[in-house]
Subunit: 342 residues, 4 copies
């Protein structure tokens, strides 16, 4: 089958190859991949800025149709429309595996990086890693349920956002726009903060329900937020910008006893904060990655009941053969979510 | 001024009287009452089935306009549109007063029952008990913010309902319909459960956003809920029926590790439950009454952003002189919230 | 090998039989059983008052030494001193399996009841069900870590008891005495409530650190608790008596916003409570069974650091051949935990 | 009366003066001060590095005996042994005042800084700010209940530490030693981390129950903690060192999903952290200051039941006239808590 493969370590070394079609074991299923999203991690693998295990088929945000089911797999049948977890390997033994937080598994290996992924005609994984999609979720949307699951876990289960709260979301990229939709679904008033260069993404924010749009290089963000919150500040802020310099400013927008949820990544760059500010204002900073079975269930229910819509986040759908065009767009920060179809 | 007064203990003894206009102290404000709701507690006072301190002006669900402000009161001015807490007396000293749960104050006395209330031209209370209404809330709606504050505290702060959950609300009366609106605002899928005689109220539920309407005497509630929840059951159930017999059945509709939130009152009648069922299913039962400053803030934000609308719950607006007509409707379970205008 | 077997359904039908020694699969381990506790469930199986799958080796509270390890099992080696989970079958697929609450698995089957248990020379189970005991835990104590894990989960993770709280524990049986030890370890002040016939168990409570001992048939429990709590009542109560009549009284001992944790079982008998009392006092009732990986870790740390000591709870250690003597004692409510050694 | 007064702004300007004896209003009480601790804030006021409102009597960690009670004050009588909150002014109106977190009041002014404090024969404050000490607490200990209340709130109510957890406390100063005692009372295993120059304080830690003592400049802290925690890392870390450079290292000692509780202050210096580390490890950072009525109640119960003992933390008790000696010791970081007796 045709697959997009990281052929060896270092920058580049990514190409479409003919790859043997994978075979399933008793506890596995085979998926005909219908859509697979390009993620920031894929760019790092392309550029060799994070480790991977070549030769390996890339892609971990995938959706497709079940075409074969191992004899030991329950509750999944041929024809099911599904997505998969992103774990190529879990120890199934550590504390995190046992309590349902596999993303924190001490031995975790990643699909599309350490194990073969979804930029290919077929993908094989354990039945236990499959989530069945409901009818409201088409394959393109299904390919980006994985980041939705992450954001749902973050906002609903980690920050525990409450209806009637005021939330600032900093950074209107795909994660920020997902956070916006989940926050709106949860009954929050949302202030979306970007820069004037994010004009189109901020405009999309407005269409997706943002109550207020602010450009940090044009508006006085603090003044506007104080107006909205009787001078108390935000109940929650969600950092999705990946910009280390923004974080101290975001902290200053919070209400006393407010929470900063950090989702955005910045390549392990240093962030300069004042812990005294955190102490005197009783602030909580919450880092989070990955998801849980309960968060998936909630996210799927939000999709089923039309409270979250992933389609507006998909800017491009390309055949797998045009992967270079998609990756280039990502490098140039054009578009939003870009989907490849094998 | 004209006021509706419980003149002495026992059944009845309620009439419109001429009552001296109240004067304020330094820490108090005077409100011209514009609307005051009739509540179940008022019926108990009328019928003498709970204690009160006659002669006392009745009514505790009130909204109006500030007409005079004591010299020691901050942040309130003449012309403000406001509602009031329902506490005629608080010790301001016990643990509950100190942690912001005045409803549980060990010395609490009640407005419209132990201290003069809002079925009158003017009402006087401490400035600290006032909540200023935003422009989205008219006086009739303002009069029923008090039950909204209670329900918001219950669902958002006690049961901590999460977006993407499935919630059953049992009993489509005013509290149930408020719970429905708050649950929908918070991103839940809501199943409203009533009886066939509640047809009109259930129809209103549908208009207010209920995802599924069930009549317990016609539909197989358990089967329908299992269909909706992949056989797991409800994440949360909210008891608003006040019917002791319903509660064991409601418990059986819950998912393992689900929560039953009890708001409905039943006159201290016995409820027969199985604690083994609660143990083996890891269930939590949460009782709650009253509200907090944070819940009020959230409820007002939900009103300001049009996520909750109190108007559909108001079935009747009558002049204070027609109080008897309103009380009779309550006795006959006609209408929903009935507002008297002094 | 010799094993204590439920040979067929109905009352009785329990005897020592010769049973084939179990063989392991790749993902399993074989344990030489050193100690196995008699539990209330065993009595129900004996008397036929709950279902089981005969012929089946009984016993689920077991500890022993690893004598053989399957090729696919990690982090367990021959010679390890271990205990096992009580699940003979889990679906590994439902929400509860995925989030680390296997006790709530929708397909769960039980060791010593639906699958062969620990009243035998050898016991075989999956490696994933094994907990390795630290050096502080001898085999007899190891056999009753399972109820300790349950109680630790209940008090620490479900009721979330806080240091400096006042807790009442009702029922000084084995579960109550475990709850006492965990509550004391967690910094609570503990009131142990029993009856005058529980004199010996209450005396043991005192030795294990109970701050106050009350006999409900002699002392005025409410008065004594009010004295200790400035009239507020208990922060938490833990129901371990299994007596339906006691529960309403226990509820009345709670502080407003207090929590009742229910551990004790009563054969699905009806419990008459007032939900109005729960509502007006903002009470939470929490049912709980089973445990989590984190609770096990905490319980083992409490054992390792001598904050909990299981030995005082073991009243009898008998050879497996004297099982009848042990079961009779249980029937007569003599002793506390009774251990059989195969 | 004699009092220690900040006479005007700037460095120094602190001296013993004759000051008029304060008179009470109806809602106030008068305390004969028996002991008042020197705190880091006092050093800042002395050196003029934070603002104050001179002329003002300094001192906010005080205990004494009630000698006069205003007519409007309940539940306090002459002869009561008490301590006081540190708020010279609260608005009693903002969200934080209403929910029982006065330390976060938007208008808060501080005793001994903006309002007269406890380095004087008498101190007057509102009855609502008084906490009555139980018989287990002598006046010297009573003077340092205020930091105990802060630490109890931090560990028990904000970080929510659980029995059987492993906690690292970084910085064995007075706050660190209080955190140690509360953590031990709550059933945690405690690793105390200091430097070799902290030898005496670390030795005291051992006497107060620390399970492991580490010197960051001599021991390999990470290796030792991994040994103790099966390589997972700490469940919680408590930052009490006030050293910005230590914090990134402390973060690296945490388990995935662990919590860093920040109590130590560092003069608003920049702290360089990696938010990616926080994200990928699911870490929470919690800042906290002040206390609640419930935390006070728990702290007093821990004192009453001998689970916390403040006496070992008091290194010096001096007459008020020798204030200079006490302040010099603080400047030189000699001793632990230094108490002045007016």
């Amino acid at each position: 089958m045709q697959a997009l493969v990281k052929t060896k370590a270092g920058p580049g070394n990514v190409e479409i190859c003919d790859f043997p079609e994978p075979q399933i074991k008793d506890d596995e299923v085979k998926i005909k991949v219908k859509a697979c999203g390009i993620c920031g991690t894929d760019m790092h693998i392309l550029h060799g800025s994070i480790d991977s295990s070549p030769p390996v088929i890339m892609g971990h945000e995938l959706a497709g149709e079940i075409v074969e089911v191992g004899s030991g797999v329950k509750d999944i049948k041929v024809g099911d429309r599904v997505t998969s977890e992103t774990h190529a390997h879990l120890c199934n033994n550590c504390l995190y595996c046992r309590i349902g937080y596999p993303r924190y598994c001490v031995e975790r290996k990643m699909v599309g990086r350490h194990g073969n992924g979804g930029f290919a005609e077929f993908f094989v994984t354990r039945g236990s890693k499959i989530t069945i999609l409901n009818d409201k979720v088409d394959f393109e949307s299904g390919a980006i349920t994985e980041p939705l699951f992450t954001v749902t876990h973050a906002l609903i289960e980690r920050a525990n956002i409450q209806a009637g709260s005021v939330i600032g979301i900093v950074g209107p990229g795909p994660m920020g726009l997902l956070a916006l939709q989940v926050a709106k679904a949860a009954g929050a008033t949302v202030v979306m903060v970007g820069l004037s260069k994010d004009k189109d993404r901020l405009e999309l924010s407005r269409e997706l329900g943002a109550d207020k749009i602010l450009m940090a290089d044009k508006d006085d963000v603090e003044v506007e937020i104080n107006k909205l919150t009787s001078d108390y500040g935000l109940d929650y802020a969600v950092e999705c910008s990946g910009s280390p310099k923004v974080i101290p400013h975001t902290l200053s927008l919070l209400k006393k006893m407010g929470k900063l949820l950090v989702i955005g990544l910045n390549g392990y760059r240093k962030v300069e904060i004042s812990t005294d500010h955190i102490v005197f204002n009783g602030i909580e900073v919450i880092g989070t990655v990955g998801t849980t079975a309960t968060a998936k269930e909630k996210a799927l229910e939000l999709l089923r009941t039309d409270k979250v819509d992933l389609k507006p986040l998909i800017s491009d759908v390309l055949p797998l053969s045009k992967w270079k065009e998609g990756f280039d767009k990502m490098d140039n920060k054009e578009g939003l979510k870009i989907i490849l179809k094998p």
